[in-house]
Amino acid sequence: MAKKEKKKSSAALTKSLKNRDQYLRTSFLYQASALMANAANTTPELAVTATSATAPLARYYASQMKAVARKSVIRLDPNIKRSICKRCDTVLIPGRTCAIVVENESVDKVPHADVLTHTCRVCGGQKRFPIGKKGDFVVFTERPDHVVE
């Protein structure tokens, strides 16, 4: 049984996907959120801060996406989760809504204390990656023994 399963290709497995509509909805909401976050703000009258006028809409879509995924038990790739602020659901765009820095708070600046920090510029929420401690870390969806071709 197990041997048979191993031969299955990724495309074949995706064809027989359970609740495909929910996956599609999640995917759509994510892209809609990214689109709204990236939309240029061309009307200065509407601008409150120097961000996109549709930024609140982007946050709403992102929170909807998270809710849909949670309700229908859809696993989101770590790449998706990391691109959205955990605290306020802002789409994190480096240079615009996200500040990226490697911190080292140790006294002697030991390399294993390096921490990559993504800071949301909207709410100040931080996501910290201890890269010095686990430099060879690969997310589970990208480990070679987990990936199905």
């Binding site: 191993k6 990236n38 601008a47 790739d77 480096p94 240079g95 890269i131 589970f140 969806t141």
Partner: protein
């Protein structure tokens, strides 16, 4: 109790109870539809050329940093033994090479510089004076030239998340920035050339002296394209569903054991 009885009847006896059998399962994961960012290709010859040119540009930096480190060490020694102010004065402060004003060495300086030159796609709120430049809010950094190329020893740097923001920062810059990945092993060469251990990321500003060869070679490198980041809102393409299948294992649940537990 009820869940354990059927498994204890199986071969292996007590061992089976503690070591639950697992089967391989496939789990669908919703992949990011926006991950397809290709780094511009660099041929092997070009890669070597870039490393050589960079190392030659970085040469004055090496001597400067070596001298600085020496002074630091002497100061440390002096403070440990006894305070002898004339001892530290013997070593002259090394002059900062001019090239350093045209370089960003390391992760943080390069990222900061790129972030500061991000093009503004947002109209300024009406209460902000329209005469102020829309790019790079800090006037201090504006006095420096913008970065035009970033060199990254990509295959020597892990984890991948460290470098994930560079393509996007390069495309969203107000002036075009080339992104160059250096061949494997160039991190050690760069670190050696600058006496900065672990240096794998360097940015070059416009008008860097003695770098005309480097800038010429850069023209062969294509610009980074991030297809989904057409910031104007035009040209956005809706990506189809992107599902990744992941192999994991799940505990075996016997049909009979299930029934058993349901009866209880």
């Amino acid at each position: 109790m009820s869940a354990q009885t059927p498994s204890s009847k199986r071969k292996g006896g007590a061992d089976v109870i503690t070591e639950q059998k697992r089967r391989t399962v496939f789990r669908p994961v919703l992949d990011n539809p926006h991950t397809k960012v290709l780094w511009p290709a660099v041929s092997a010859d070009d890669g070597k050329l870039f490393v050589d040119l960079l190392c030659s540009i970085l040469q004055p930096v090496s001597t400067y940093i070596d001298q600085k480190n020496k002074i630091k060490q002497r100061k440390k020694k002096a403070s440990v033994t006894a305070s002898s102010p004339d001892f530290t004065d013997q070593l002259q402060k090394p002059t900062r090479p001019d090239v350093l004003n045209y370089l960003t060495l390391g992760f943080n300086p390069t990222t900061f510089a790129l972030e500061s030159q991000t093009a503004s796609i947002y109209a300024q709120p009406s209460y902000i004076d329209p005469t102020t430049p829309t790019t790079a809010p800090s006037s201090k950094k504006n006095s420096k030239h913008p970065i035009t190329a970033v060199f990254i020893a990509r295959s020597d740097i892990t984890p991948a998340i460290l470098l994930s923001h560079f393509p996007l920062l390069c495309t969203s810059s107000s002036i075009p920035v080339k992104l160059v990945q250096l061949p494997r092993g160039s991190l050690a060469l760069l670190a050696q050339a600058t006496s900065m251990p672990g240096l794998g990321i360097a940015g070059i500003r416009q008008g860097c002296p003695d770098a005309s060869m480097l800038f010429n070679a850069l023209e062969r490198i294509e610009d980074v394209v991030v297809p989904w980041a057409e910031f104007s809102g035009r040209g956005n393409v809706y990506e189809t569903l992107n599902i990744k299948q992941v192999v994991t294992s799940a505990p075996m649940v016997n049909a009979s054991s299930k029934k058993h537990s349901e009866d209880d």
